[in-house]
């Protein structure tokens, strides 16, 4: 079973992990207890390559408390090559070159106590 904790431990080491239903082959981002498609409980961990394209993006200019020094920054929903989507912070891509369909690659964003999903240039 892939929990949030194990997902982010793996992500910290640069490895992205999805879960695939052995019953119906549905691919999902953890954590999920039952398959939302066939409702079985037969997940197996599968590595995700981390390649994808931007499905939508925004540049956040008014940030929450604790992140105001980071603003402006971009956040995107990325459609991964395996077919599942993942939301994360966009890193090292100029705002004016962001567009839907732009290829990007998973890159974890690390702080001392936190791992954030990030996407940088492909």
């Amino acid at each position: 079973m892939i929990t949030l904790q194990t997902f982010f431990q793996e992500a910290r080491a640069g490895r992205l992990t999805g879960i695939r239903c052995r019953q119906c082959s549905e691919l999902a981002i953890p954590p999920k207890e039952f398959c939302p498609s066939c409702h079985q409980r037969a997940w197996e961990a599968v590595p995700l390559a981390g390649h994808g394209t931007i499905a939508s993006f925004t540049v956040i200019r008014v940030a929450p408390r604790g992140r105001t020094a980071e603003a402006p920054y971009a956040v995107a929903v990325v459609k991964l090559a395996e077919g599942v989507s993942l939301l994360g912070r966009v890193i090292d891509i100029p705002f004016d070159s962001l567009r839907i369909g732009l290829p990007v690659r998973f890159r974890p964003l690390l702080t001392a106590d936190r791992t954030v999903v990030g996407f940088g240039p492909a």
Partner: protein, 384 residues
């Protein structure tokens, strides 16, 4: 199940207040009791909505606090939280309490108080309604959620920033007619388009404000309602959900929970979108109104922007949406919003909305959305 009527509504002015959420709810409740011509002792249960009172006011357990302020400390109370859909979720449960025969008169509503905390703190607290593992750490804000939806809608349907701006202009025009609205001034398309960027492509005037306020609705069984001045009947009250995380949603351009809740509500009432005369829907951002009009079946998918641009959703248009000014101009005290929308629909159906009255309205719809479009409530109301 018994038929349920709305017999009284009350809404505080929306804007900045110096009172606590529980006080604001009690003020709205007093107005609802006055409207219904009932004494407080008629209330047999209280369903109360509040979202960020824990961190914002250091106050949990606001239900009994509100009951105590109302002088009814013995009345059972329950607090609800479904992000911005909070008091509409409370409403649905209150309807079930009356419909089931458990109580004859129930008070439902909510309140929120956030204008005394800094914007970046309120932005953080509201973002708690997004996922704490994936979305908050990425720095996603609530405007950011709807910016991602807007960008996807623009790419799929050609929806424009000008069309979104038309929603803001229209709702401000309506809000100027509402004495309880937070913003009672009209704005221009140019002002919206030139306003500071919040989360691209959304600008300041695409966003509803932070608001303090309370709203209350009194429900009664059919027998009790028939003794009241002018009951408005609850024809349906439906809830639906969708995946919590944006990345788990099948289509960013659609609010599946809105579609599901609307289908259930229409089925319960034996009505369809064409029967609706007036709509109060969740325009937390201009794009949210466009997506909601499509999800409720009022306009075809992809044409919500056109509907705003052509004036179809204006007062005097083919289907007026948000005659109160909506969340955009009336304001959005998140725990009170659903009950305030319902109060507006009831006022409209009674023909008591003054200069913002939708002439001849007989069927009204209220739609409230919570979080990343993960919770939606849709209720339908009608006259005899």
């Amino acid at each position: 199940m018994r038929r349920v009527g709305v017999i009284g509504v009350g809404v505080t002015p929306f804007g900045k207040h110096e009172r606590s959420s529980a006080e604001l709810f009690a003020e709205a409740a007093a107005e609802a009791l006055d409207d219904a011509g009932l004494a407080p002792t008629a209330i047999q249960a209280i369903y109360f909505g509040n979202v960020v009172g824990g961190p914002a006011e250091r106050q949990l357990h606001m239900g009994p606090q509100a009951a105590s302020i109302l002088g009814l400390p013995w009345v059972p109370t329950t607090r609800f939280e479904t992000a911005c859909a909070t008091s509409h979720a409370a409403f649905r449960h209150a309807v079930m309490e009356v419909a089931s025969g458990t109580s004859d008169v129930v008070l439902v509503g909510g309140a929120e108080r956030v204008l005394d905390i800094p914007t970046e703190t309120a932005t953080e607290l509201f973002a708690y309604a997004s996922d704490a593992a994936f979305e908050q750490p990425a720095g996603l804000t609530v405007p950011g959620v709807f910016a991602l939806i807007a960008r996807a809608h623009m790419a799929k349907y050609g929806t424009t920033e000008e069309q979104m701006a038309h929603v803001a202009v229209k709702n401000h025009r309506h809000g100027a007619l509402n004495p309880k609205a937070q913003f009672r001034k009209e704005i221009t398309l140019e002002q919206v388009l030139a306003s500071p960027r919040i989360a691209d492509p959304l600008k300041l005037y695409d966003c509803c404000p932070f608001t303090d306020g309370g709203a209350a609705v009194l429900l009664a069984s059919e027998e009790a309602a028939r003794r009241s001045r002018r009951p408005v009947w609850v024809l349906a009250s439906a809830a639906a959900s969708d995946a919590m995380c944006l990345h788990d949603k099948k289509d960013l351009t659609r609010a599946l929970a809105t579609e599901r809740a609307a289908q259930t509500a229409y089925r319960q009432a034996g009505l369809g979108p064409k029967d609706v005369d007036v709509v109060e829907l969740h325009d937390c951002f201009t794009i949210a109104e466009i997506v909601a009009t499509e999800g409720l079946g009022l306009f075809e998918p992809g044409t919500g922007g056109t509907a705003a641009e052509k004036g179809w959703t204006s007062l005097g248009g083919k289907l007026p949406v948000n005659p109160s000014g909506g969340l955009k101009a009336k304001g959005h005290p998140i725990g009170a919003t659903g009950a305030a929308q319902i109060a507006e629909i009831v006022t409209q159906l009674r023909g008591e909305a003054g200069p913002r009255q939708v002439e001849g309205a007989r069927i009204g719809l209220a739609h409230t959305l919570g979080g990343n479009t993960a919770t939606v409530l849709v209720s339908l109301f009608g006259l005899e």
